[in-house]
Amino acid sequence: MELELNVDGRTAVVKELKREGNMLTVAVDDDIYEVDLVKVGKGEYSVLYKGKSYNIEVIESTDPKHYTVNTFYFTYGIEIIDAETRYMRSREETGAHHGENIIRSPMPGKVVKVLVKVGDTVEAGQTVVIVSAMKMESEFKAGKAGVVAEIPVKEGDTIDGNQVMVVIEPVVSA
């Protein structure tokens, strides 16, 4: 078994070389690791490597191919890259949505104010929507200048984390 994984920008090839019970020999790029790895709970792994004891949490995020992995003090975003991912990526890069400026809320909350409407021209840095969560209001700004193409939320809506709030299309200069 061999997989390509992306970790915060780095692409690594991980290959299983040998497996006997918990004992696992794995190549990560050119380095060979012999680890004692065992699952101790939902998404919780205990790993012994060179005597040291590591507790690693592997949490599926948006879909089965995206993980948030916590080691000691670090959190890594890891993505599995397979044929499907590559296909999706190539589509994204060449597709119609290229260059869009999509504004999402990183956390769940409530839309308290939408400051633009579809068709408005906005500048980079302009606040377009305000979300309230846990008694605190956060302003979300346009990343690039453009025209508001879509506003899939309205004031008063309760939204999930990562939900799209405003889509801004760049103005193609003639």
């Binding site: 990560v28 998404g43 690693i56 670090f74 990183p106 846990m134």
Partner: protein, 508 residues
Amino acid sequence: MDHRKINKVLIANRGEIAVRIIRSCREMGIRTVAVFSDADRTAMHVRYAGEAWHIGASPSSESYLNIDKIIEAAKKSRADAIHPGYGFLSENAAFSRRCREEGIIFIGPSPEAIEGMGDKITARRTMIAAGVPVVPGTTEKVTDETEATRVIMEIGLPVMIKASAGGGGKGMRLVKEESKIVSSLRGAQSEAKTAFGDDSVYIEKYIESPHHIEFQILADRYGNTVHLFERECSVQRRHQKVVEETPSPSMVPDVRARMGEYAVAAAKAAKYEGAGTIEFIMDDDLNFYFLEMNTRLQVEHPITERVVGVDLVKEQIRIAEGNPLPFSQQDLRQTGHAIECRIYAEDTDNNFMPNPGTITHITEPLGLGVRCDGYVYTGYTIPIYYDPMISKLIVWAQTREEAIERMRRALYEYKITGVKTSIKFLERIMDAPDFRSGKYNTHFIENNMKFLLAETECDLYCEDLALIAAFVDYTGKLEKVKLTMDNSTVRHGSDWKQFGRRHAAYRL
């Protein structure tokens, strides 16, 4: 002034403080009633209380701040007392008065005491009359701009302009230059008007390196008032306390004794009954001034409980029943050192943005000297409507140094996944030289922000081991899917056999 035994308490609150109050009630054999909003049906206080009544929609204004609904629930459940916790209605004089009118014991001060301390100008006057030192400044509402400029120049710059009805940093302006006086005054007044519906402001001298020191007090209805020593609350971010400790590392015995006496005098001047807190501001030369009184239990009360050995919620209940205090000032002493860290659901790396969501997994720290007061559990979804504080971690040790090491150990053990929390940030505070030396004031967090947000070094293999774990998890899932696919092509007679097999395949 008759004595009335409390048999059933309604807790007009949610979160960790509701759970904490129910614990003490349970130990006293008092039955408990939780109230909950739409968003809180699955909350821990609902599960832990003996009874639970729904009081309205998710926004606090329609539930935890709705006096009528809460009184109705108290009557339906035949509760003879209400504990307001902190926040929400805890410092609402109208609520205290309504309880009195309905014949329900309010576990807190009288409406008069709340009103007297709630208006900051009145509180200042009361304290001056009682001989308690206050920050140099005005004792009257300031409106006239020329007069204000004269007064400010008399006090001497820098000064703070503060809203009389204030709290939480709103309606506050720091003025350092004469040219900014008028604009700051207008700004404070307009903000105060918006936030509290009252544009009264007053002026105080600004203390340069302020320490926030507060004294816990307890007072019964027979005039007995004691203090339970100080809490150091100078580790703050945007006027929100983050870490508290007791004793204060900057305190010396004679200053403590004097502040304690003033704290008792302040409570007596306010005709206070119950548990309260006298907040002082202290400069580097240990000059101190009354700042305000909190007429409720504080978030940080557990560090006092640990060092003094008193259960403050039980004392609140006993006082509300009409019992005299069971101890006098000379019975009380501080033993060892306690620190509290507040755990928030927030993304400290992303401007401390709140981070509600579902708790995938939680492991609480345990063992010698550790107390963890929380309310979230594995599988629980933290609602978006309320405070982002999810728990408080309190440690005790014989010395401050040992307490810091114990806090580091406890924070290391504390694992919460699913939402981002401030745990890593708190670990950095425990490592910060200014904190360890005990030489810090309310500027600590802004002065140390770079250190506090720096990444900890990881050992050489962390990243590769993370990759290996993700690899193993993903290939494990792939195999399970294949297994399920294979099974589902061959159909068996019994659905249950099928179910059992799949079920097994999805177990960890």
